[in-house]
C-alpha cells in the first residue's frame, strides 16, 4: 500500500452554534484529521453533536467558525453549486433512517446520484448500480420498489447508493440503528468489506460499542468536543 496515507479531511477549530436569541453551542472547537481509507467510528452520548458534525463534514451544513478542508480545498470558499458538486462526487451518505425515494425501484435509488450528476440515464450507470446491488446481496431485488423492501434491505440499498459515485468518503449516521443485531451486523460487515476492497474512508456514527470496537479508530464526542481519539488494531 501507500507509505504515507493522504489527508482526506481536515477540521480545525470547527464550531457550530444554533439559535439567535438563545444560542446553543453544539460543537465547540473540533480538530480532526481523516486520512484516505480510514475506517472511523464516531461515538458519544445523544445530543453530543455527532449528526451535526457529520452534516458539516458532508457539506450539508456550514460551521459557525473554523476551517474545513476536503481533499486540500477550503470548503468555505465554495458556492452552492460547487458545494453540491463536491458533495455529490466526493461524499456518500447513509442516513440513520434509511432514506430512499419510495416511488423508485431499488436500482433507480442506487443510480440517483449518478443521474443527478450526468443529467440522463445511461447503460453504464445501470450496470454500476446492478453491480453494487449484487455486492450488497440484493441482485434479485433490483426492480423492487423501495417501499417493498425490508428495513435491512432498504439500508443495504442506501449503502449501495452511497457508493455509486465511488466517493473517497462515506458518512454513515447510525446505519444499523434501526436494524436487529443480525442484519445490523450484516450491514456493518458490508461497510468493512467496501472499505477494504475500495479503500473508501468511512465515518460511522454508532452507539454500539461492539461495532465501534471493530473500527480502526474511535473518536468519542462529549458536549461538542472530542473527548478521546483512539486508534486500535484492525478488527
Amino acid at each position: 500500500m501507500t507509505d504515507t496515507p493522504a489527508t482526506l479531511l481536515r477540521l480545525s477549530g470547527v464550531t457550530k452554534d444554533y439559535g439567535s436569541r438563545v444560542i446553543t453551542h453544539v460543537l465547540r472547537g473540533i480538530d480532526l484529521e481523516v486520512t484516505a481509507g480510514e475506517f472511523l467510528a464516531l461515538t458519544g452520548p445523544s445530543g453530543s453533536g455527532k449528526t451535526t458534525l457529520l452534516n458539516i463534514i458532508g457539506l450539508l451544513d456550514r460551521p459557525t467558525a473554523g476551517r474545513l478542508e476536503f481533499r486540500g480545498a477550503d470548503v468555505a470558499q465554495l458556492d452552492e453549486t460547487e458545494t453540491t458538486a463536491a458533495r455529490g462526487r466526493g461524499i456518500g451518505f447513509v442516513f440513520q433512517f434509511h432514506h430512499l425515494l419510495p416511488a423508485f425501484s431499488a436500482r433507480e435509488n442506487v443510480m440517483l446520484p449518478l443521474l443527478a450528476d450526468r443529467g440522463r440515464r445511461d447503460r453504464e450507470m445501470q450496470e454500476r448500480a446492478d453491480e453494487l446491488l449484487d455486492e450488497v446481496g440484493l441482485a434479485d431485488r433490483a426492480s423492487f420498489r423501495a417501499t417493498d423492501l425490508s428495513g435491512g434491505q432498504q439500508q443495504r440499498v442506501a449503502l449501495a447508493r452511497s457508493l455509486v459515485m465511488r466517493p473517497p468518503l462515506v458518512l454513515a449516521d447510525e446505519p444499523t440503528g434501526n436494524l436487529d443485531s443480525e442484519s445490523g451486523n450484516q450491514v456493518f460487515q458490508m461497510l468493512r468489506d467496501f472499505n477494504e476492497r475500495h479503500r473508501t474512508a468511512f465515518i460511522i456514527v454508532t452507539h454500539d460499542d461492539r461495532l465501534a470496537a471493530r473500527c480502526d479508530r474511535v473518536v468519542h464526542l462529549v458536549d461538542g468536543q472530542v473527548e478521546s481519539d483512539t486508534r486500535q488494531g484492525a478488527t
Binding site: N55, E80, R87, G88, F95, P102, A116, M165
Partner: protein, 409 residues
C-alpha cells in the same frame, strides 16, 4: 430521459388522486376557454359571413351626395333620407381607370362596377319601391356569390331579364317567367319605364333586401338611369375582411372617391362583436387565474409532502436548479395534459351544443368553429400557466435545507 423529467413524471404518477384532480381542474378550465371561444368565434363568423354574403367589403361612389345606399346595422340597407325624386344617379368619372387603380391596391382581390338607383316595381295594381342594381354577373359574382343565393330559376340577366328577391316576388305575386314593369322617376319629369322578365328569385337572408333589390344587367341599368357607359359604384373585395376599413381609406386617399367599408356601414354590429369579445376575454382571464391558483396550491402541498425526498435528493448531489426544474416541469406537464383533457372536453361540448340547439330548419343555431390554432394556443397557454404557477412552490422546494430534513428522519 432527462433526470428532472424522470423525477417529475414519477412524482405525478405517484400523486394519483391529486394529479387527477388537478388535471381535471386544468381540463375544465381549458374546456371552458375552448367552448367559449369556439361558440363566440363561430357565432361571430357566421354573423359576419351573413352580412358579407350580400355586401361588398368596400363600396366606392362619387364624391357628391347622391341618392345612395346607406347600409345600416344587421346588413339592412335603406335609402338615404336625402333622396329626392329629382336627384339623378351619377357615374364615377372614368370608372374603368379608377377600378384598375383600386385593383392594384395591396390586399384587394377584385372589384366590380355597378349601378344603384331607385325605381318602382309595378305589376298590375301593385307597386313597390325598389333599388335597381345593375351588375355584370361575372365580375359581381366574385364579390357576392349571387348564384348560390338563387332559390328559383337562375341568375340570367341577358337582355331585359331581372332577378328579384323572394319578398318582392311574394308581394307582387311574381314567379320565374312572369313580367313586371320598372319605372324610374315620375312621368311628369320624363321618367323612363320598361318591362322585365323574372329569370330568377334570390333569398339573401335578409327580408328587407329580399323585398328591395332588383338585379338587372349593368348595361340595362345604364340606359335606365341615363348613364351610358357609366357606373355609379365600384364594389371591392379584399383578401381579409377586417382589412376593409384600411383598404377603404387607401381608396379614398388615392382616388378621392368616397369609399365605405362594411365595417363602417355595420358599425353597430362591430361594436357588438367587440364587446362580446371583451367579455369573453374577461371570463377567460378569470378561468386562467383559477387554474393557475389550483396548480400552484396542489404543487405547494406536494412540495411539503415531498420535503423528505427533496432532502435526500439534495444530499445525494442534486443541485438546487435541478430541484427547481423538477417542480417547474411538473407544472408544465399538468398544463400540457390538462389542456389535452380540456380540448377533448371543449370540442365535445361544442359538438354537443351545436347538435342539441338547432334552428327549425335543422341547421345549427351555434355554428361551431373547429380551430386548431385555438387548440394549440390554449395548450401553450395552459403549459405557460402551469409553468408560472409552479414558480413559487418550485423555489420553495429548491430552498429547502437538506440538513434539517435529514435530521428529522
Amino acid at each position: 430521459m432527462p433526470f428532472e423529467l424522470l423525477i417529475a413524471l414519477r412524482y405525478l404518477r405517484e400523486g394519483r388522486a391529486q394529479t387527477w384532480l388537478i388535471l381535471v381542474g386544468v381540463g375544465v378550465g381549458v374546456a371552458v376557454i375552448i367552448f367559449l371561444s369556439g361558440l363566440i368565434g363561430g357565432l361571430q363568423k357566421s354573423l359576419v359571413a351573413r352580412t358579407l354574403g350580400s355586401q361588398a367589403h368596400v363600396v366606392v361612389r362619387p364624391r357628391e351626395e347622391l341618392p345612395r345606399l346607406l347600409p345600416t346595422h344587421g346588413g339592412a340597407i335603406v335609402e338615404s333620407l336625402m333622396e329626392r325624386p329629382a336627384q339623378r344617379v351619377r357615374s364615377i368619372v372614368q370608372w374603368q381607370h379608377r377600378l384598375a387603380d383600386i385593383e392594384r391596391i395591396d390586399g384587394v382581390t377584385t372589384a366590380a362596377p355597378s349601378i344603384s338607383g331607385a325605381a318602382m316595381a309595378v305589376r298590375g295594381d301593385g307597386a313597390n319601391a325598389v333599388t335597381v342594381r345593375g351588375i355584370e354577373p361575372g365580375s359581381y359574382g366574385r364579390i357576392v356569390n349571387l348564384d348560390s343565393l338563387i332559390v328559383r330559376g337562375r341568375l340570367d340577366l341577358d337582355g331585359f331579364k331581372a332577378v328579384i328577391g323572394t319578398e318582392l316576388a311574394h308581394e307582387l305575386g311574381l314567379d320565374v317567367g312572369n313580367r313586371f314593369r320598372l319605372r324610374v322617376g315620375t312621368e311628369q319629369e320624363g321618367g323612363t319605364s320598361g318591362v322585365y322578365t323574372v329569370s330568377g328569385i334570390f333569398d339573401i337572408g335578409n327580408k328587407d333586401l329580399n323585398a328591395r333589390w332588383v338585379f338587372v344587367s349593368l348595361r340595362v341599368a345604364q340606359s335606365m338611369f341615363g348613364l351610358e357607359g357609366g357606373a355609379s359604384t365600384i364594389e371591392v373585395k379584399g383578401e381579409r375582411i377586417y382589412d376593409a376599413e384600411l383598404i377603404a381609406q387607401q381608396i379614398n386617399g388615392s382616388t378621392g372617391l368616397v369609399a365605405d367599408s362594411w365595417m363602417k356601414s355595420n358599425a353597430q354590429l362591430l361594436t357588438g362583436l367587440r364587446s362580446q369579445n371583451s367579455s369573453s376575454v374577461m371570463i377567460q382571464v378569470f378561468v386562467i387565474l383559477a387554474v393557475a391558483l389550483g396548480i400552484a396550491s396542489v404543487l405547494a402541498v406536494s412540495v411539503v409532502q415531498k420535503s423528505r425526498e427533496i432532502g435526500i435528493l439534495r444530499a445525494t448531489g442534486t443541485r438546487r436548479a435541478q430541484i427547481l426544474r423538477i417542480f417547474l416541469i411538473q407544472g408544465s406537464i399538468v398544463g400540457l395534459l390538462g389542456s389535452a383533457v380540456g380540448i377533448v372536453l371543449g370540442v365535445g361540448l361544442n359538438v354537443f351544443f351545436s347538435r342539441i340547439i338547432q334552428n327549425p330548419d335543422g341547421s345549427a343555431t351555434f355554428p361551431v368553429m373547429f380551430d386548431s390554432v385555438l387548440y394549440l394556443r390554449s395548450a401553450a397557454l395552459a403549459i405557460g400557466v402551469g409553468l408560472v404557477a409552479a414558480i413559487i412552490p418550485a423555489r420553495r422546494a429548491a430552498r429547502m435545507d437538506p440538513a434539517r430534513i435529514i435530521r428529522s428522519g
